[in-house]
Subunit: 165 residues, 2 copies
């Protein structure tokens, strides 16, 4: 554009060429960076110590919390793909950390539960995970922690409606 032209300030720029997006200030990007870093840091900790992958930890954690469940229920609660659950369950069963019992009332599914060895590992990982989370939140006040949880809830609700609706 000729330098002598006079325009209502910024009027043209807005329509001809949008402002570039500052990635480092973009909420979806920031959220993803943070979550990835948090997830991987924790996963490295229990991965090194117990040879457990993220999906395997989630299966352990779900069974540790709820006791007996089917693979379907585990996937539903921890939002894992059924193939991911299937493979994590197979790996954990092979290592005898969980057992599979038939459901006579419905032979398609099976009841899964922690073995003693699985329970033992679960009770080693849980304090480690809690310590990590506590240490992560150590810089936050009680109020900020409540805020964070409220905000996550609001955003989760919001994104769910955006995805479906």
């Amino acid at each position: 554009m000729a330098s002598g032209e006079r325009l209502p300030s910024g009027a043209m720029d807005i329509h001809a060429e949008a402002e570039p997006l500052r990635l480092e200030g973009f909420l979806p990007y920031r959220l993803n960076m943070l979550a990835t870093e948090v997830s991987q840091t924790l996963a490295r900790a229990y991965g090194r110590k117990f040879g457990i992958s993220i999906p395997e930890w989630r299966v352990l954690a779900t069974l540790g919390q709820f006791g007996v469940m089917t693979a379907r229920d585990i996937g539903g609660h921890s939002r894992m793909h059924k193939t991911t659950v299937s493979r994590a369950v197979a790996a954990l069963e092979k290592r005898r950390l969980i057992v599979r019992r038939a459901n006579r009332a419905d032979m398609r599914e099976a009841f899964l539960a922690l073995t003693d060895a699985g329970t033992a590992i679960y009770h080693e990982i849980v304090p480690m995970a809690r310590a990590f989370s506590d240490s992560l939140c150590a810089g936050l006040s009680e109020t900020e922690l409540r805020q964070m949880n409220t905000l996550i809830d609001k955003l989760a609700e919001r994104v769910a409606s955006l995805g479906n609706g």
Copy 2:
């Protein structure tokens, strides 16, 4: 344990067997769920429309923001693995959305920049991404948005120190 035994309430349980971890109230898990959902919802939007993957979008976004950069700079800024950058750059170059110009002062690296076609797609995706983000944040007040950003900053700083230190 024999049912008749009398114990100080809960004294043994606390040490013998930790409380099960409620996954749905566990911050690392909650953060990861939210970020995954947000990321994938946005990625589906521009993926369907332009056939662009997440790493490709990040390369486009970084070049759109900064103009000319090397692959190394892109990786550094967007925290992508160098192999991921390499492949995204190759794909975008093949589709003529970016160009590679030699750096005569250092022939190992190359200057990357958006082509006109790349700039055009960038300027189509940016408003879409902004609209998504705005819609995501629509349920949040101005104050809550500031809080969210502050909290993400604090947690990011915290997790970085936990990972390294």
